[in-house]
Point group: C2
Chain length 376, copies 2
Amino acid sequence: MTHLSPLGRPLRPSGKLLQEDTRRHHRALLLQRLFRDGPASRADLARTTGLTRVTVSELVGTMVADGLVEELGAPVESRVGKPPTLVGVAAESTHIVSLDLSPDDRLTGAVVNLAGHVVARHERPLAGRKGAEATALVHELADELLAMTSRPVLGIGVGSPGVVDALGTVLDAPNLGWHGTPLADGLREHTGLPVLVANDANTAALGEHSFGHAQGGGLMVLRVGTGVGAGLILEGTLLHGHRAAAGEIGHVVVDPRGEACACGRTGCLETLLAVPHLRRRLAASSSRTRVLADTGRRLGAALAPVVGTLNLHELVLSGPVDLLDGPLRDAVESTIRRRTMPVIGDELVVRTSTLGDDVVLVGAAVLVLAGELGVS
Amino acid sequence: MTHLSPLGRPLRPSGKLLQEDTRRHHRALLLQRLFRDGPASRADLARTTGLTRVTVSELVGTMVADGLVEELGAPVESRVGKPPTLVGVAAESTHIVSLDLSPDDRLTGAVVNLAGHVVARHERPLAGRKGAEATALVHELADELLAMTSRPVLGIGVGSPGVVDALGTVLDAPNLGWHGTPLADGLREHTGLPVLVANDANTAALGEHSFGHAQGGGLMVLRVGTGVGAGLILEGTLLHGHRAAAGEIGHVVVDPRGEACACGRTGCLETLLAVPHLRRRLAASSSRTRVLADTGRRLGAALAPVVGTLNLHELVLSGPVDLLDGPLRDAVESTIRRRTMPVIGDELVVRTSTLGDDVVLVGAAVLVLAGELGVS
DNA sequence: TTTGTTAGTTCAGCGGACTAACAAACCTCT
DNA sequence: AGAGGTTTGTTAGTCCGCTGAACTAACAAA
């Protein structure tokens, strides 16, 4: 079944399309252009979108009224005819509150502007809190972040560890003691704002895709920390998977004769790649490079079928750069190249994240941008 | 960038949405219901789609005028109120011509009705033809199939080997000597009908998804023949990949110490799984079961990262049932289960195709149904 | 100053979906 | 049998959003 989702809002359940949806779609289309290509004149927007100048003018009008977009005056260079009035996204007009719940000792958050830049940060130590106490701490953190901005807040985006469904319910996050916890609903009720929740690796993928100079084409972000998880953007959209568990690659067995894993099985990717394990192996070995390259080769071997099957364009490694960039990255790249067809391997880009530790926060903001404005 | 594709037609390049598109979307929405759930009354359709009875009546009117849908009278059971008039898809009102170019010795084709049933078949031996000669043969086969039906033809769907881009240009198909051949354009010009071309494994996935009792949720169809290829339906849509090479899994290296492959590398999946190789190994061994189970285990090991990363729901094996069903399938299933998390592995269904050798033909028809009517 | 060009606005019209209201056809209850 | 209630599908009129055509504004070049 083909899904039609008007930019800006999730599709109404029935699938029917109102004129209102058309309007929101076009509004989002204009915003998209402005986000992606920077300021432009109304006439320019009309040309690139195919809408008439009339429609564009009217839509820009509503966006200016909302404060989302502002007039910037005429451009410097002058051509023949009446000089255009540039309009552009007013990045500071509206803020987004982002939460990153993935570190295991604390909850971090930020105020992010429409350009995806962090304008303020705040965090609270988790101190072992779980279940309802952890939820309460999330609410507190959100409140404190909301108090840190005087601008209207578009919504709250959350990157949470564990499996998160499309409605923002955390189905399973052992670290936080959440099982079927309706995080989005609770936070929405608490704050009265739109709330969007996704798995941290998934938000990282969104962040990298929209603000990390991604090239377009399939993107996979592999997050390496205490655990290992991935997020995938395929055909321009985030992959959720059958049970919302897409990207849960940490407990895929890559070496049946490997180390025992906390999950009960043997040789999970996490036992190979998770930071504690990797650091331990590094400490025990004389050759740092050999350990890293060896790890990269095994990782590459596990990812080659994925890259080949999906014809991915970019593989982004996110985590401690001292471990991931260098021999490990090189080995991953060369191994995947060696193990896939030229059409696929030659085009593949393997790199570390350009957003660093902020990927999840920025990605959570993208979640809100996409959900509320239809921009991504 | 979020893509909006109104059911029925590819999005106009700009991304703008006309009222016309809304109408087509709603028409497709109704057709979808009728295809999926069978006949229904106008009032029923209105309830399930959320459109008003007025709008539904009008839309049904146009579809009846087109002959696509027919009135079926009142249902047997009678409830209170005026009895409804059921309307249903007129499966034989329109035909689709499907071509399967994947066998390496011949080109096969069929006339398919709207219900996905093959109503006539025809084939032509390839006799080593390549390049322009092969293209000419495709045209001939299409003409002959078109002559076999007196009903209006909705379009021509083609499942071709090799890498095929979204516009129906065959980028690379060594067997047929095609490199950058605009197959869809040529056939469209030749016949004057809408033509849609995709990779054979991709059309197979479409066929299995729409008419193979697929469960919904991520689906991967692995086609095993002279070569090995896959097609994936993720989040309800066909995956194309960065260079239209998604599913090209045959030349992913699964065993660096394996057999030499025709492609120049060593231990490609094809050397493990392609029918000629597999039959040869079976002939050389005393234990058929051991060879098949061993092959299944290796295949499972290669696919586990894919299944785990994508959180697939169904894995369908398509090809010679005597090889694929039984020990091989069992070993694939158990290996993947053992190598993935319970959330993922427990939900996975591994099975052989329900459509048998017709998957590609039926899938090519789905390509047309999806492209022309927005049904899938 | 005139001419040509480009930007942005006003206005009438059209397409498509919606609401309201109704006739037809059936049930059920007295 | 007849009255009243229900459900279907149609007709009539309204609203909303986009369009094309025409207009005003503002500039460069000649």
